[in-house]
């Protein structure tokens, strides 16, 4: 699988400046600054507990940063007023680690809900689009199943269909490969590239799945728990080959034994 390099466009899709993230006075990340280009497949990587998911939650606005700012397509997001924030929420989708499907709704209803909320489409068109999105993630024929009736991998794919319902400009993925077998994981990677190819979508993925990182990432940032921030940034192949930081090489070259 070859990732196509993104087309350079002047305004980046995401700009993060000097972000400080934490919970209840406990600082998890500080001084995080990064820029993600339009159409880029960008990975946030690092060991467990380094703050990957925390950074993602702050990027999508589930948590407010204690300092710093997040901009989408040049528009400030973290300090935006509710109306502007709602408008910006339409431009991105998110796939949660467990799929986070609404359990009382069928898969079709899960995908339809954002369309009902944000578009003026007829009910029939919404049904068609929801069916299309589910078919695109390989869930054709499962439209009327409830989340409790399908497997974990299917829940994830249904979550992706829901994230893609509004054809967002940016899609965030929290550990998309976690709990999936290698074949399903690879298919999900292909699906991610297909989404980018079809609509030029910017993809931000939190993961520590090396196979995915090396096959589809354009660029990665690596976070470190003790450093409370970014310790490396670049193309995964370059980082694995040239980084002198043992934390980076140990992570990206898992076959190497750490220095004794």
């Amino acid at each position: 699988m070859n990732a196509e390099p993104p087309t350079p466009v002047s305004t980046p899709a995401i700009e993060v400046e000097n972000l400080e993230c934490g919970y209840a006075g406990n600082v998890v990340l500080q001084g995080v600054s990064l820029t993600i280009a339009r159409g880029e497949v960008f990975f946030i990587i690092g060991g467990s507990g380094c703050g990957k998911s925390t950074l993602l939650r702050h990027l999508v606005g589930l948590n407010r940063p204690t300092q710093g700012s997040v901009k989408f397509f040049g528009q400030p997001f973290s300090a935006a007023d509710p109306a502007a924030r709602r408008a910006m929420l339409q431009t991105f989708g998110m796939l949660f680690q467990s799929g986070a499907l609404w359990s009382s709704l069928t898969l079709r209803q899960n995908v339809s809900l954002p369309l009902e909320e944000y578009t003026a489409l007829s009910e029939r068109e919404i049904q068609e689009l929801a069916t299309l999105k589910l078919a695109q993630v390989g869930l054709g024929g499962f439209e009327d199943y409830f989340p409790a009736e399908i497997s974990g991998g299917m829940k994830k794919r249904a979550g992706l269909a829901r994230a893609l319902a509004l054809d967002p400009a940016i899609v965030f993925f929290d550990e998309p490969s976690a709990g999936l077998d290698p074949v399903t994981s690879r298919k999900l990677d292909e699906l991610i590239l297909e989404v980018r190819e079809n609509f030029g979508t910017t993809i931000v993925i939190v993961s520590h799945e090396l196979a995915s990182i090396f096959s589809i990432a354009d660029r990665v940032v690596m976070l470190d728990r003790s450093h409370r921030g970014i310790i490396a940034e670049g193309r995964p192949v370059d980082l694995a080959a040239t980084s002198r930081d043992p934390r980076v090489t140990e992570f990206l070259r898992r076959t190497d034994r750490p220095p004794q």
């Binding site: 029939r124 068109e125 689009l129 299309l132 009327d144 509004l166 054809d167």
Partner: protein
Amino acid sequence: MTVVLAGTWQITAARPTWEAVRGAQNPTRVRLRIEGLEKWDSALLLFLFEAQEWCRGTGAYCDLDGLPEKIRRLLAQLAAAHESSVPFDRAANIVTAVGLATQDALNQAQAIVSFIGECTLSAWRLAQCPGKFRWRDCLAEMQQCGAMALPIVSLISFLVGVTFAYTGAIVLRLYGGDIYLADLIGLAMVRETGAMMTAVVLAGRTGAAFAATLGNMRANEEIDALEVVGIPVVQFLVLPRLIALGIMMPLLSLYANALGMVGGMAVALGLLSIPPAAYWIEMLSSVDLSDIATGVIKATAFGLIIGLSGCLRGLQAERSAAGVGRAATSAVVTALLLLVVADAIFAVAFNVLGW
């Protein structure tokens, strides 16, 4: 007719419809092509599909060769989705629905009986080996369902006593039997209302909490983990809760009786000018230990019913947020239903026994 598609097409914005573009024309050939398209998403696909469907309906030729391969592929996927986009109707016909409901009721009854049997066997095994009982959990539950429920039980019992007293006073005053208000309130609280009102409060408060806790544990696979490790779920999770309720319910019921009597006494003093001492002496003349015993027996049974309903529904919960919610609701409904049935059985049984 040639339609050139250009500009920005976004699903969240308004888009032209095929009918508006076609106007009054009825072409026999429609050519769709792209030129200067800036940004597009599913909105463009929906428009193209509308055009394609119109052509198919009227027999016009639809020429898609001017569209990029990527868009043609997505359009084909949308056409396929159109075929299967009618939601499946899960509603069954009346005969099937009645049959399924009957089968469900029988299954539920079987599940309740089976669960009671399982709890009894576990209690028996535990009685032979009491060291294995989780007293710490039981004490924590006793605090939760007993001590923490005192404020709400106090308020409700006192107000029930007050309400009964006001209602009773209306009739008793007509016959000059004001003093018998003490007998009325005393017997009503001790034999019936104290236990029943406490049970209703605990069914909503504790039964629902049991179901939600166990349902959540089921959703998080904690119960599966217990089973895999070989720890009996009923012994570990259910018995401490059942015993806690079985101990605390009679105590709370006695407390509720006292508060109800105080409420009645307050009304008797304020409305009928009956001194508390006279009220108390009159009440003792009609309420004896057998009356109190009937209330305590009922309260113990009610506590076990609430605990069983809450735990059973929690263990039966589906592995989802909605499932946990349904389990909590079902626990309260089941408990209330069984409480009323049990109360009726007790009323008949005590009458036969002459208690």
